[in-house]
């Protein structure tokens, strides 16, 4: 049927929202390396949007540049999504494997990344009166990505439409749960660390007399 290069398959998936991911699945295509590359690009896109958007369009607090929120917004959210989706859909008879979910999710993010880069670029030559174009490009990217994500999840798990919606909603809830537990664990470990550290200082003081 189709024979493409790795990037060719990516293009095929993005420009064929209905059939693309099905083909990807049946042809057992998609590269994990490309997927990770896309996640890195997502992070870079967020950084670019914050730092390089035209001055008139950029409302961010530019005095401090903190990369952590951007990292969380891109990389952490992505992998939480993948893990949450995998754990939910394993229980809901989904056929997708972790690797496939990761690849499909990453592939469907490409329009958003492209849209963000484009919006960032044209915001440097636009004035606020023409903001609609910048917004249009940006939201077009988001919308396209949402559609692709839906199709990707549908294809990878071989779900019907209602079941896909249900699984995605459940995934979002599980994402919250995972992040909540992660924060809980983090603060718990911090306390353990503080506890051990205080014991260490106590003992070291005793030893010194």
């Amino acid at each position: 049927m189709y024979e493409f290069t790795t990037m060719g398959w990516l293009r095929h998936a993005i420009f064929h929202p209905i059939e693309g991911f099905e083909d990807l699945r049946w042809k057992k295509q998609g590269s994990l390396k490309v997927a990770f590359g896309i996640v890195v690009l997502l992070f870079i896109a967020l950084v670019a949007r914050r730092q390089l958007t035209g001055f008139a369009f950029n409302g961010s607090y530019t005095k401090i540049f903190n990369v952590v929120p951007l990292l969380v917004n891109s990389v952490v959210y992505f992998f939480t999504w993948v893990i949450a989706n995998w754990s939910v859909c394993t229980l809901l008879d989904g056929e997708g494997r972790l690797k496939q979910i990761c690849i499909n999710s990453a592939y469907s993010l490409v329009p958003f990344i492209v849209g963000t880069f484009l919006a960032t670029l044209i915001s440097n030559v636009m004035v606020l009166d023409e903001a609609i174009w910048v917004n249009a490009v940006y939201y077009l990217g988001i919308g396209w990505s949402v559609i692709l994500m839906f199709q990707a999840m549908k294809a990878v798990h071989q779900y019907t439409v209602p079941k896909t919606i249900f699984s995605i909603l459940l995934t979002l809830i599980v994402m919250l749960l995972i992040l909540f537990l992660a924060i809980l664990l983090l603060s718990l470990f911090q306390q353990v660390y503080v506890f051990i550290y205080s014991i260490y200082t106590e003992i070291s003081y005793r030893i010194r007399g």
């Binding site: 024979e3 290069t5 060719g8 008139a56 950029n58 409302g59 005095k63 004035v127 606020l128």
Partner: protein, 576 residues
Amino acid sequence: MKKALKRAVSLCAALVCLASAMITASASEPYYSYSYDNWDDAIPAQAGYKVEDTYTGHDIGLDKLRDPLDPLYVGINASVELNGPKDLFFESTKQEFWIADTKNSRILRLNKDLQLIGCYTGVYGAPSGTYNFNEPQGVFVVNSDDGKLYMYVGDTQNSRVVQCEVTSATECECALEVTKPDSPIYTYNTFLPEKILVDIAGNIYAVCTSVNSGSAQFNNLGEFQGFYGANRVELTGEIIRRRIWRVFASDEQLKSITSAAPVEYKNFDIDAEGFIYTVTEAANASTDAVKKLNAAGYNIWNNDAGNEYTFADSGANTYDASTNTTYTTRLTDIDIDDYGFINILDYVTGRVFVYDEFCELITIFGTSNTNSDQKGSFTGPNALECAFGNVYIIDGIKNDITVYSTTLYGEYLKQAVQLYDEGKYVEAKPLWQEVLDRNGTCTFAQMGLGKACLSEGEYKDAMEYFKDAYSRKNYDKAFKYYREQWLQDNFIWLFILIALLLVLFVVLSVLKKKGIIKKRVRKQKKQVERKKTKKELEHEAQLAAEAAEEAAKEAAENAASQETNETDEKGEDKNV
């Protein structure tokens, strides 16, 4: 030997003392001056005002009141100190200061050098028969066109407002006495006028204690006209909760719900154009903290832009790192100076915030004496007045008057802002440059220079200035013009470039059609090489095995048939 050592030590100590005294003598203002940037972050700034001097009762010549030989003699027991003064007023035509010396129940009149020239302890001929003032908290003076000098006193504990015609340095005649209104609109039990204000038409406005419907307004005949300019209720979670609860509550429950009342404004001032500015003293008031009222009592800042105006220190409870305390703001007095700038006094922090007429922060100065009890710090700042480019602040606990005078930086800044507000951006340019030389982080200066560049057509520079000022809207405007200019300047080149590209395209397509240039043949895509999965491998192996088997079978069959053929051939050969 010991003596010598002692001497040496004491000499050293003396030197150290001297040195430290010299150091303190060279110290600057008793506070860190700061300003707010576009994100409402406090940033260090130059001081716009510096402490000129403080005047106690002795300094302003209150001793005269005890001197029987002096025309101002009141009595041998007259207080020679101010005692809890609540109000300070500057009368601009005669250039005189008036003080409501509240706890001493008298009004003091000072000349422009803050020397006593009059003292009034009461008013003759009041219809109520009361002569003495009783803790007056407000004073307002009008020098009328017919040459008469009228003093309006908010005689708080006597529950009256009196209009007195000043006849001499110690005496005044009652012209009008306003007591508690009889009107059914006035539903309050008390009438304790605190602050008094009189407009051009002679209407009297009185801010009264615990009256939250606005200030009581009287016409020039003393008739009650109604309330003027009430604050709105601040929308808090409690108010919203009550509003929702009201929908479900039964009639009896409704009765028990207290209705929400707005906080009253504490003080006001009138500007040259007759607009009345009010300040609300309630802690951290955010709704209607400062208002600009028109004659009808409506806040003319009450619009989308106006509600975004912030005054005084931003943030509800502000933390002060130097004293490790959290404080609230209480705006206690407001004054509009000759430039039309709004000066607001914060009672808690002792800071004065100066804004231009569009509520852009100009400078902040002053401090409470929690940090340092020295000149220029306040314990109970009650009122401020602006005159001669100075700011006079009266302290009701320290009982003195502090004079802050404008620094050179402040002078440049104020003049520049004034020109800026008039729209004379280019004229203000050298002044802004001076400001910027002294304070590089002054966003106002960046804005001013930006606008100057914009009106001079230097869009590129304007963009830079607006970027530094972080004014996105103005940057956008400058950028729009800059882009237009750029397109106009480079139009020929752009046109040529586009034309060339078009020609090239057309020529190429024509040449292709005629076959002079061969159409580019797309390279055959490379066959994908990828690892085969285990199953596939197995499958392939199986296929291969099957194929091999079949091949073997075929071969065997072939061999068998060939044998027969061969034998046939052989036979044929033999036959041949």
